[in-house]
C-alpha cells in the first residue's frame, strides 16, 4: 500500500490564494468528473477537449515518443471513464497531471532496468485543498516561471518531475553532491512558487 499524507488535516494552498479561479482547470474538471459518475458521455467529451493537451503533453515529455504518449493518453482517459471515483476532491488539473506523470513513469520503468528501487508513485493529491491554487496557471505561465529559475535549480526539478529520477540519480548523473541537489530542489521549488505568485498577482 502506498503511503499517503493526505488523510490528515489541512493540505492547503492558502499561500497562493490570491490566484483567481480558472474555470477550465478548477471548476469544470471537478464538475465534469461528477457527471462522469452518471455515465455522461457529453461530460467525457468535454473533459477530453479540455484536458487532452495536458495529458498528451506530459506523456510525451516523459516518454519521448508520440505513439506511446497517444496510447497513454487514451489509457488515462479510459481510466477516468471506468473509475471516476478515483478523483474525490481537490484540484482536478493537479490530480490529472500527477496521475498522468505517474502512469508515464510506470511505463518508462517497465522499459528500463534500474539499479535503484523505484520511486514511490505519488503523494496523493486529495484532501482539503484550496482549489484556487491553479487558477491562472496555464502552460505559458508555468513555462515562464520555470524559465526564470537558475539552470542549476530548474534542471534537477525537471529531471525529478518529468524524468522520474530520484535525487540520488540526479546527483550521480550531474556529478553534483547529493546534499547540493537536495538544496537546489528545495530552493528551486520555493522560487518557483514565488515566481508563480508574482505572475498571478500582476
Amino acid at each position: 500500500m502506498r503511503p499517503s499524507v493526505s488523510g490528515g488535516s489541512a493540505l492547503n494552498y492558502r499561500g497562493l490564494s490570491a490566484i483567481r479561479a480558472n474555470p477550465r482547470h478548477v471548476e469544470d474538471g471537478a464538475r465534469l468528473m461528477e457527471r462522469l459518475r452518471e455515465r455522461d458521455t457529453v461530460a467525457f467529451e468535454s473533459l477530453y477537449d479540455g484536458y487532452h493537451r495536458l495529458v498528451f503533453g506530459i506523456a510525451l515529455r516523459v516518454l519521448g515518443d508520440a505513439t506511446m504518449a497517444e496510447d497513454l493518453t487514451q489509457s488515462v482517459f479510459l481510466k477516468l471513464w471506468s473509475a471516476p471515483d478515483a478523483f474525490r476532491v481537490g484540484n482536478f488539473g493537479a490530480w490529472l497531471s500527477r496521475v498522468t506523470r505517474n502512469r508515464a513513469l510506470d511505463v518508462l520503468r517497465s522499459r528500463a532496468v534500474r539499479s535503484e528501487d523505484e520511486i514511490s508513485a505519488d503523494i496523493a493529491v486529495e484532501g482539503t485543498v484550496d482549489d484556487v491554487v491553479f487558477a491562472r496557471l496555464d502552460s505559458q505561465t508555468v513555462r515562464a516561471a520555470l524559465a526564470a529559475l537558475p539552470e542549476e535549480q530548474r534542471m534537477p526539478i525537471e529531471m525529478g518531475f518529468f524524468g522520474g529520477s530520484t535525487h540520488e540519480e540526479i546527483a550521480r548523473r550531474t556529478g553534483v553532491p547529493l546534499g547540493t541537489i537536495k538544496t537546489r530542489i528545495r530552493t528551486g521549488l520555493r522560487r518557483l512558487r514565488a515566481e508563480l505568485e508574482g505572475v498571478v498577482s500582476l
Binding site: G15, Y48, S120, E158, L196
Partner: protein, 265 residues
C-alpha cells in the same frame, strides 16, 4: 546519528518528497515523519503547489489528426459502454448487509459464529462478484476499443485512398482545399492561423435545399497550421462548406466571420 541530525536529514528530503523524486523507502520515511512534525508539514504545504504546477509546463497543442483519432476511439468506447454496460450495484447489496451486526446481539455464541461465517461468506461473495464485474467491464472495454481501433484504421485507409484518388474533385479555399471523392468530403488546410486559447476551428455545411448552415466537426490544427479533417456529412447532399473559429466544444451557429465559404460546384 542523533535525533537532531535525523530531523535535519528528514527536513532536507521534504522538497524532493513534494516533487515526487524520492525512492520508495525514503518516501515512506518522510511520509511518516510529516505526520508528527508540523514544520515539515508546513514546508510540504508550501512546496506542493509549485511541484504540482510543473506538469502544466508540458501542455502542448496536439496534432489535429492525432487529437481527432484519439477522441474518436475514446468516444466510440465510452458511448458503446454507456449504452450497454449495466453492472449490478454491488454497493447496494453491501449496504443491506450492514444490518447484520444487529442480528448478532442477544444470540448464542454458535449463532454468532454462524452469522459471522455467513457475513464473511457474503462479503467474499460480493467481493468476487465485484471482481468479476470489473473484469467483465474491462474485457468489454478492451473489445470495444479493439473494434473502434479497427474502425479508425479502416477510415484512415479510406481517407488516404480518397485524398489521392485521381478522380477526386478539388475545391480551392484560402490556405488549402476541399477534396471530394464520391460521397466523402475532406478539408486539407495548411498555414491556418494559430487559435486563441479556448478556441477551435469548426466546419459548417450547407445542404442543397437549406437556408442556413449546419454545424460539422471541430478541430485544432497542428503547430505548423496543418489540418486534414474528414467531414461526416454525405457530400451528395451538400451545396457549400464553410469554416469559422468557435469556442472549444463548438457552436450551434457561427459566432465569428467565416474564414471561407466554398460552394461545391
Amino acid at each position: 546519528m542523533n535525533g537532531h541530525s535525523d530531523r535535519e536529514e528528514m527536513m532536507s528530503l521534504v522538497a524532493a518528497y513534494a516533487l515526487g523524486s524520492l525512492p520508495a523507502s525514503e518516501h515512506r520515511r518522510v511520509s511518516a515523519f510529516m505526520l508528527t512534525d508540523a514544520e515539515a508539514r508546513a514546508e510540504f504545504d508550501a512546496l506542493r503547489p509549485a511541484a504540482d504546477a510543473i506538469g502544466f509546463a508540458a501542455e502542448e497543442p496536439v496534432d489535429s489528426a492525432r487529437s481527432a483519432r484519439m477522441k474518436e476511439r475514446l468516444m466510440a468506447t465510452v458511448r458503446a459502454e454507456a449504452a450497454s454496460a449495466k453492472i449490478t450495484p454491488i454497493g447496494a447489496a453491501r449496504s443491506a448487509s450492514g444490518a447484520r451486526p444487529g442480528l448478532l446481539m442477544g444470540v448464542g455464541l454458535a449463532a454468532a459464529a454462524a452469522a459471522v461465517f455467513a457475513f464473511v461468506s457474503i462479503i467474499q461473495n460480493f467481493s468476487l462478484r465485484s471482481d468479476l464485474a470489473n473484469a467483465n467491464m474491462r474485457a468489454n472495454t478492451l473489445q470495444t476499443q479493439i473494434a473502434a481501433n479497427a474502425l479508425v484504421q479502416n477510415r484512415d485507409r479510406q481517407m488516404v485512398a480518397d485524398l489521392f484518388a485521381p478522380d477526386a474533385q478539388h475545391y480551392a479555399v484560402a490556405d488549402g482545399e476541399i477534396i471530394r471523392h464520391g460521397q466523402h468530403l475532406y478539408l486539407a488546410l495548411k498555414k491556418l492561423p494559430p487559435l486563441p486559447k479556448g478556441k477551435v476551428y469548426q466546419a459548417w455545411t450547407l445542404a442543397k435545399d437549406a437556408k442556413a448552415v449546419a454545424p460539422s466537426v471541430t478541430f485544432s490544427p497542428s503547430s505548423t497550421g496543418v489540418a486534414v479533417v474528414a467531414l461526416p456529412e454525405n457530400a451528395d447532399g451538400l451545396a457549400a462548406v464553410a469554416l469559422s473559429v468557435e469556442p472549444e466544444g463548438g457552436s450551434k451557429a457561427p459566432t465569428s466571420k467565416p474564414a471561407f465559404i466554398r460552394q461545391l460546384t
